[in-house]
């Protein structure tokens, strides 16, 4: 079956994968992680990528973010072709146009929350805009804890610091890799609410990889991956709709 090309028509496309194929290994042992994926991500939208483990959802995100190369096909951030960029160009791209949120928070233990948040800017040698910084801090709700070090913060707080770090450089797009994977449900909800808010109120574009249907239900749109192909695309999803889709994918896999 060939997946239909999901296109967000009315809004500007911020990230695009065109026939992206990703192979790992060589010869007999070669495994395809992505098999000709075509997908667009629109500006100002919160998209979740879902799929069972091994479906290629993380690989898709990594190639989009310029963290991994593609075997075939093209990746664009805005109008810029990301595939074939040099390490230097990729570094600048990540520094200026992309934000990241990781499952493991990945804060620097030697820095305070504030320093962690400002890290991408200081690496780029840029000064934060005071207004924007305050607004981000406000949104994340960390004003009281800015001079704490990571080990003095709870998991949820650490992940909110990581979110603020991704937001502060005003990237065009933020990639979040299982951002709630290491959090309990209360903290997870906090973070998801916050991500949703930053799309609503700050106009941020976010692409999030998750395997949790409840987390996916916070997104504006959910893309389903299986076996390296896009197998579903859901707008304005509810948790139930996501679960149903996943179940149908499982059934199909079983039949196949």
């Amino acid at each position: 079956m060939t997946a239909t090309v999901p296109v967000a028509t009315e809004r500007r496309v911020l990230a695009r994968a065109l026939g992206v194929t990703k192979m790992y290994g060589k010869g007999e042992a070669q495994v395809a992680a992505l098999r000709g994926v075509n997908v667009d991500f629109a500006a100002g939208e919160f998209t979740a990528i879902m799929g069972p483990s091994g479906s290629g959802k993380s690989t898709l995100m990594h190639t989009l973010a310029g963290l991994d190369t593609v075997t075939d096909g093209e990746v664009f951030i805005g109008d810029t072709r990301v595939s074939d960029m040099s390490d230097k160009e990729l570094t600048v791209l990540r520094r200026t146009r992309i934000g990241f949120i990781f499952q493991q928070f990945n804060l620097l233990p030697t820095l305070t929350a504030e320093e962690n948040i400002l890290l991408p800017l200081s690496i780029a040698g840029r000064k934060p805009s005071k207004d924007w910084f305050d607004r981000v801090i406000d949104t994340v709700g960390l004003a009281q804890r800015l001079d704490h070090r990571p080990d003095q913060l709870s998991g949820g707080q650490q992940q909110r610091v990581a979110c603020a770090r991704a937001l502060v450089s005003q990237p065009e797009i933020i990639f979040a890799d299982e951002p709630t994977g290491n959090l309990d449900s209360v903290s997870g909800t906090e973070v998801l609410e916050f991500l949703k808010n930053s799309v609503r109120t700050l106009g941020q574009t976010i692409v999030m990889v998750t395997h949790d249907p409840r987390a996916a239900s916070y997104a504006d749109r959910v893309i389903f991956l299986a076996d390296g192909r896009i197998v579903g695309d859901l707008n304005e999803p509810t948790a139930d709709a996501v679960i149903d889709t996943m179940r149908s994918l499982d059934d199909r896999a079983r039949v196949a």
Binding site: L67, T91, V92, T96, N106, L108, L111, L119, P120, I123
Partner: protein
């Protein structure tokens, strides 16, 4: 468990290489030193083997003063015809003949300078009927008093051949001879142990070498057929009494080989000392490496414990790992050491002409010591972190995942106690009765103490130091990283500290000594020109007294003061002695000041001494003191006066006539010239130079040149020490590389994140470089402080030896700091490269 350990060990090659390299270097230095020493020893033994096989028994008087310094020569007292006859009458002796053979015949080369030594003595001897052991290669034996034969080694070195005229310095001023023969030794040897020999006719040899017509340096006895060497040897010893040495030809060769070994032995010991330093520094590195490795393996080890491994098993696992690392590195280190030893022995031997390097051999001791040092040091270094690690509750580690380092009070206390103990021992060793070993132990303890205390100050100091480099985000990150684990930073820096401290201490002592000398000469020396031997042979140079008398006649020369120096025996110890041809002039030229008694004149049977000598001898004005000179019987003197210490004159000053009779040489070894007011210095100097051209062992120097000569000697000494300590530095650099590499491994995920959020490769390199430079600088600063304090203490303790002023070598200190920055940069290259090349994606998902 064992299988698991070995698997885990092999699976991490980097870890293995890093922890092994330090052991390898240390073992290499130790075994290399031992191989050098052994090879040279065997080379020298081979040189002397059979050198005196033609001698059945050799009889000589024991020297009256056993010389302490290696460049000093003990004078063998001459014996007379009657002794030869006495030897001949002993039963079992078929014949006895007197020999003349004494050190001190220096040949003047074609450039007008004394032919440089070739590592062995310079004999002047009487030509004797040559046995099969020596053969004339060309010409004939000396037949008239104006003829000499020389050995082939000397002929080659000096470029002399039969028919050439040659000047020879002996106990008498220069005499010119004609070379009529060149001889060699058995087995085609040109020289025995680098010796130079001039053979005269017997009367000439007696006069020039022994100062006594009809005298002999020894008796050669031939055995009657069937007599046993041992029997005759003991009856000779009985007959002649304890003042005589009776040696077989073999023993004589051994004795000569031992004497010529002196300087090489000293070098060997020096090398071993520095090898010890590198082992010591290596221990820090190994401890640190194992600490980090174990910290990183905490989770793995804790998992094992949770699965039921006992504490003992866990420690055992680490010990097995360290044993394997120690074993492999020792083997490699030994192999490298043998290579280094072979090259080193070759280089040292080539500085000694005519020394054939023996075949490379590996002494059993080197093998044993290499493995013992390598394995024990490694296991010991691994034991501490292993025990510490085993004390952590396993589940805490698994849950936390991190390795939290708490405060280490015990360690701080231990550090303080060790430092205190070290300083105490150092103080006792330096200022109390002689205690070189106390000083060494004290310094070692102090080093360990300081490094245990270092974590306390490492965080704040590193923060401050880092602020200097914290340009931009990478700098700031690097600075934070270096302050991150104070213990780790401290141990890494400590390795650096030790090398820098030792170099700094020695530089400080040298600077203080140099400053004192400069100051003293500027203040005290009233002479305008000085005729002096070079630094190494200042005491043994000679000046023709007749030429000096003519210098006094040169217009513009106001006065001449000449001195001769020697070593005498006093009680059990040796005592430097000096004598001046004209004491009144000497006192004026040296600017001596009275401290006690009267120093205006030097009456017969009295002596004067400087304050330090008086203090160390516990002598006061009016006391009696007995001196045994190289020649003649012991004499007793009354101390008439004590003068203030001065660099230019130390020890006991005795009347000139006694020096002429008793000192090794009757000729002055140095002379001071005062010029008349308004005299042209360069003109006078040219005249003096011309008059002294037959005394090539001394050169006429201005006051500035004298100062330069002393400074030059210090600079040479310092360069040697710096070179040898360079190896310790190399190990310290390796320590920084280790720490960085392992830290980066530990922070892989963090680096992946930084790269993901936009840190460029260049910035990554800068971050790691900053960390490295900060650690290196911190170690160097610590070393500078510790070393300066140590150096000043040692210099202060050497006040009696003429170090009257304390000085810090600021220029060198600055150079060491700059060197530390360079070292930091170099150490960071490999880890930084690795860090910059990390695959971002793999790094982020790194466990």
């Amino acid at each position: 468990m064992l299988k698991f350990t070995l698997k885990s060990l092999l699976s991490r090659k980097l870890r293995l290489v890093l922890s092994g390299l330090a052991v390898l270097l240390a073992v290499m230095f130790v075994s290399g030193s031992m191989v050098i020493k052994d090879t040279l020893n065997r080379s020298i033994d081979a040189q002397f083997a059979g050198a005196h096989d033609d001698i059945d028994l050799h009889v000589a008087l024991k020297p009256r003063v056993k010389s302490a310094a290696s460049d000093d020569v003990s004078v063998v007292p001459p014996l007379d015809r009657a002794t030869v006859d006495r030897v001949a009458r002993v039963s079992g002796v078929a014949g006895a003949s007197g020999l003349v053979r004494a050190e001190g015949a220096r040949v003047i080369g074609k450039d007008g300078k004394v032919v440089p030594g070739t590592g062995g003595p310079r004999y002047g001897e009487s030509w004797r009927e040559r046995s099969e052991l020596t053969t004339l290669r060309s010409g004939h034996e000396p037949r008239t008093d104006a003829e000499v034969a020389i050995n082939a080694g000397l002929a080659e070195k000096a470029g002399l051949k039969v028919g050439d005229r040659v000047g020879v310095l002996t106990n008498e001023p220069k005499r010119t001879f004609v070379v009529v023969g060149v001889f060699g030794f058995s087995d085609d040897r040109d020289s025995i142990g680098g010796e130079q020999t001039v053979a005269f006719t017997e009367p000439v040899a007696q006069r020039l070498m022994l100062g006594r017509t009809g005298g002999y340096s020894g008796v050669r006895a031939t055995l009657a057929p069937g007599a046993s060497v041992a029997d005759v040897q003991s009856s000779l010893a009985r007959e002649l009494g304890p003042r005589y040495d009776v040696l077989t030809g073999k023993q004589l060769a051994e004795k000569e080989s031992d004497e010529s070994r002196g300087i090489l032995d000293m070098m060997g010991t020096l090398l071993l000392g520095f090898a010890g330093v590198s082992v010591f520094v290596g221990i820090f590195l190994i401890v640190n490496t194992f600490s980090i490795i174990i910290a990183q393996r905490m989770r793995e080890l804790a998992l094992l414990r949770a699965l039921g491994a006992s504490r003992k098993q866990m420690i055992g696992s680490v010990l097995v790992e360290s044993f394997v690392v120690g074993l492999v590195s020792s083997a490699l280190g030994l192999a490298a050491g043998i290579g280094v030893g072979a090259v080193g022995a070759d280089m040292l031997a080539s500085s000694t002409d005519g020394l054939q390097v023996a075949a490379l051999g590996v002494p059993a001791g080197a093998v044993v010591v290499s493995f013992a040092v390598g394995i024990l040091v490694t296991m010991l270094a691994a034991l501490f972190p292993a025990v510490r690690a085993s004390k952590v509750a396993p589940i805490a580690v698994i849950r936390a995942g991190a390795t939290q380092q708490g405060r280490h009070r015990k360690q701080t206390w231990a550090g303080a106690v060790l430092l205190g103990l070290g300083v105490l021992l150092l103080g006792l060793g330096l200022f109390g009765a002689d205690g070189a070993s106390m000083v060494i132990v004290g310094v070692l303890l102090a080093f360990i103490g300081v490094s245990l205390l270092t974590p306390l100050i490492s965080k704040p100091s590193v923060e401050v130091l880092g602020a200097l480099f914290a340009r931009g985000a990478p700098g700031a990150l690097g600075r934070r990283n270096s302050a991150r684990n104070p213990r780790r930073t401290a141990i890494t820096a400590s390795a650096m500290m030790i090398g820098v401290a030792l170099v700094t201490a020695i530089s400080t002592v040298a600077a203080s000594a140099e400053d004192s000398v400069t100051q003293d000469i500027n203040r005290d020396l009233k002479a305008d020109l000085v005729a002096l031997g070079d630094a190494g042979s200042a005491a043994s140079a000679t000046i023709d007294p007749a030429a000096l008398a003519r210098v006094a006649e040169v217009p513009g020369v106001r006065s001449v003061a000449a001195a001769t120096l020697d070593t005498a025996k006093s009680g059990k110890g040796s005592q430097p002695v000096a004598a001046w041809q004209d004491w009144t002039k000497a006192r004026e030229v040296l600017g001596l000041r009275t401290a006690d008694g009267t120093i205006e004149t030097l009456a017969p049977r009295t002596v004067l001494m400087n304050e330090s000598t008086a203090k160390s001898r516990d002598a006061e004005v009016g006391d009696r003191i007995t001196l045994q000179f190289q020649r003649g019987e012991a004499r007793t003197y009354r101390v008439a006066g004590v003068f203030a210490d001065s660099t230019l004159s130390n020890g006991v000053v005795v009347p000139w006539t006694d020096a002429e009779a008793g000192f090794r040489s009757k000729q002055p070894s140095q002379a001071y010239f005062q010029l008349a007011d308004g005299a042209d210095e360069s003109k006078a100097r040219a005249r003096i130079d011309a008059l002294l051209k037959d005394s090539p062992e001394v050169t006429v120097k201005t006051r500035g040149e004298v100062i330069e000569m002393f400074s030059g000697a210090f600079a040479t000494m310092l360069a040697v020490v710096q070179g040898l300590l360079g190896v310790a530095m190399l190990i310290a650099v390796l320590g920084i590389v280790n720490t960085l590499a392992l830290s980066i491994l530990e922070r892989t995920r963090e680096m992946g994140m930084l790269r993901a959020i936009g840190l460029s490769r260049g910035q990554t390199v800068r971050m790691i470089m900053t960390e490295s430079v900060v650690i290196s600088l911190f170690g160097a600063l610590l070393g500078l402080v510790v070393g300066s304090v140590l150096g000043l203490a040692v210099a202060r303790a050497m006040e009696d030896q003429g170090i009257s002023r304390l000085a810090l070598p600021w220029g060198q200190l600055l150079a060491y700091l700059i060197g530390a920055v360079v070292v930091g940069v170099i150490a960071s290259l490999a880890p930084a490269r690795r860090g910059a090349r990390l695959n971002v994606l793999a790094a982020i998902s790194h466990g």
